[in-house]
Symmetry: C2
Subunit: 400 residues, 2 copies
């Protein structure tokens, strides 16, 4: 059986255990280890308020060789002051002691409630238990994927395999969370392993591009949380010749990584709070790339568009209003909007279209909203999901 | 009995009639007339896509003397191309013919569904009927307030009276709509009358300030619609000495106008789709005024904050996340948050507070969320309302 979890690529061990941080008793401590040492790269939230884990991880990822990533769920270690920083460092040290590495070779991430100190007794016992259970099995990979979940309803994993220099390279990843989940909960954590031999700088470049075009294109409620972190570890054990320049082999690797991240982002969108379907917004004809991005996000974030998608309503008026409202340049006489292949608005005027077919398009699990602004040549896209009563229920009825 | 409708100030007649634009048969054509001629000023949406009515009104408001304002509900006359422009002009001409004025002395506004041509037969008969029914009565003022409604559940009116040079001046206004209402519906229309004698330029200045600090501070779903329009007419019949400079008398007038607009904005917030309560966000300690504004809107627009308010949950974590997420400068060690008088987060760390009392604060019809950023001296505020299942129901279940 093929192992499509993060223990699939050669050189990785993982574990996921329960140590009592979550009141539910579910798994809440995950660990992934590369005994031979891995190149690491990471992308972090742009929020100005960040978790202590993010602060420490940003520092540790600069180390040349990384040995492990430790992740707890149930507590974000955010807004916890200097104790939070000490706790994040202590997590790295505990892992390092357990696997015989330097604390700076351990990366750390946290997700969960904000403003509460980590229960370090539980954290320490969880880390010790995880170290004991480390395994290269599929089950261990799945345990890790489950240990990072908060209000996610299912573990989300993806993998890609491809040939390079006659060697098979594997990239595997897992992701948790969409939307600022639960009360005071933090959002997206993404962990990727690969056995590719690639330089640290190119690994970072490929990760930034892949996350930028996938996870960072997904807007559930328009904000990056305090804890968002994506980490990739490369063991280099696939046996390919080291990728050290932006050659065709690099592009192959980057493409496979981007596809896998896109897969994870879509899984996350469909598992976001209350979401029943997702959509892609494609903006063309923008005056600048920044304006294309702004217009795409305006549509995907607009609550009335999200409600219309939830209702299966081909409501182009709300789409037009959204792109018009954020100050991006557009030519009202060339403004055109499509829902998949159906043109609903053409050159500034409503188009005739089959309302029933258009409603079917919007009612799919995923459809594409395209808007041509007629103001230039720049384009961009993003992903959104619908807004349902369940989103409100999840986020209003749960009390801190 | 005191007339607190828009026919309250001396010199105004009004009417509100049903002419069949709305399928429901409810009032959908409003008219206000100043037979002696009024100074007029207006503020319009910043959306790049605008109603034909906005395009024409922007032009006509430059005329020295204004005779009337005509408003239809049920159809926004937006995305209707050159026919839409001709229809808006024809509305002004029909009114002008009926009251013996120049078409350029008539202002026009529309609200309702986007992308459908105005049914001009009905519009013409509605205007004729409204001209016939013009009256200075309280009932006529209320009819007008009802005729501009779309999914509003009640007419919203406010008035202020004050003395100047021994004369009583009156300002009265009515407002409709909050949120991009219904499917393809357009938003805020506000009409104000006053008998103050004031120059056209100062009237405009006072209106811009008043709307800027009231209606434009209210964010229901974060966007200005294609039709937003606020108009003030001043008959000058109160008998006060003409206000022609920024003297104390101007400031008295501007203050009364601002208070009345604030009253209207609050009424609108509480009548917005599905809203059960509202809140004010006050940002202090921002590096610049623009950053203060951005941070305030980030909190008020953040769906998770809106859901927490709906649930009566003192969820400061979401507030902190919102201000951190929009790129404004802040000092994490000085970041402080209050809910009314209760400090829930102080200098970057969670504060101890009585959770029950804090929940009572958030459960009020209105409370204030204050955030000190610790990055400078600029401040700003805005208003928001909660996000409920009803908002989703209204906006997802209704089909175009």
């Amino acid at each position: 059986m093929i192992n499509n979890t993060i223990t699939g690529p050669r050189g990785f061990l993982a574990a996921g255990v329960a140590c009592g941080i979550k009141a539910s008793g579910k798994q809440d401590m995950g660990l992934v280890v590369c005994p031979t040492g891995a190149k690491a790269a990471a992308v972090f939230t742009t929020n100005k308020v960040v978790s202590a884990a993010v602060t420490i991880c940003r520092e540790h990822v600069r180390t040349g060789e990384t040995a492990a990533v430790v992740v707890n769920s149930g507590n974000a270690n955010t807004c916890t002051g200097s104790k939070g920083l000490a706790d994040a460092v202590a997590m790295c040290k505990r892992v390092a002691d357990g696997i015989d590495a330097d604390p700076r070779q351990v990366l750390v991430a946290s997700t969960g409630i904000i403003g509460h100190a980590l229960p370090m007794d539980k954290v320490r016992s969880g880390i010790d238990k995880a170290v004991e259970r480390l395994s290269a099995s599929t089950e261990a990979g799945l345990d890790f994927a489950q240990a990072i979940m908060t209000t996610d309803t299912r573990p989300k994993q993806a993998a890609r395999r491809f040939e390079l220099n006659g060697k098979t390279l594997t990239i595997a990843g897992t992701i948790k969370g969409a939307g600022m989940i639960g009360p005071n909960m933090a959002t997206t954590l993404c962990f990727i392993t690969t056995d590719a031999a690639i330089s640290k700088s190119l690994l970072g470049k490929a990760l930034r591009a892949a996350i930028g075009d996938s996870v960072n294109k997904l807007t559930v409620d328009g904000h990056q949380s305090t804890n968002d972190t994506a980490i990739i570890l490369a063991s280099g054990l696939a046996g390919n010749r080291l990728i050290s320049s932006e050659c065709p082999r690099y592009r192959r690797f980057a493409k496979a990584l981007a596809e896998m991240c896109d897969d994870l982002a879509r899984q996350m969108a469909l598992d976001s709070e209350g979401a029943t379907r997702m959509f892609k917004v494609v903006i063309t004809g923008a005056a600048t790339a920044a304006e294309a991005r702004k217009a795409a996000r305006a549509v995907a974030d607009y609550p009335l568009v999200k409600c219309a998608v939830h209702g299966g309503d081909p409501n182009w008026g709300r789409i037009i209003c959204a792109v018009g409202s954020v100050g991006v340049r557009l030519n009202p006489d060339r403004l055109t909007c499509k829902l998949d292949h159906i043109t609903v608005f053409r050159n500034g005027s409503p188009a005739r279209f089959d309302r029933k077919k258009a409603s079917q398009v919007v009612s799919q699990t995923e459809h594409t909203i395209s808007v041509e602004l007629g103001a230039g040549k720049a384009s961009d896209f993003c992903y959104g999901c619908d807004l349902s009563r369940d989103y409100v229920a999840i986020n209003a009825d749960y009390h801190t």
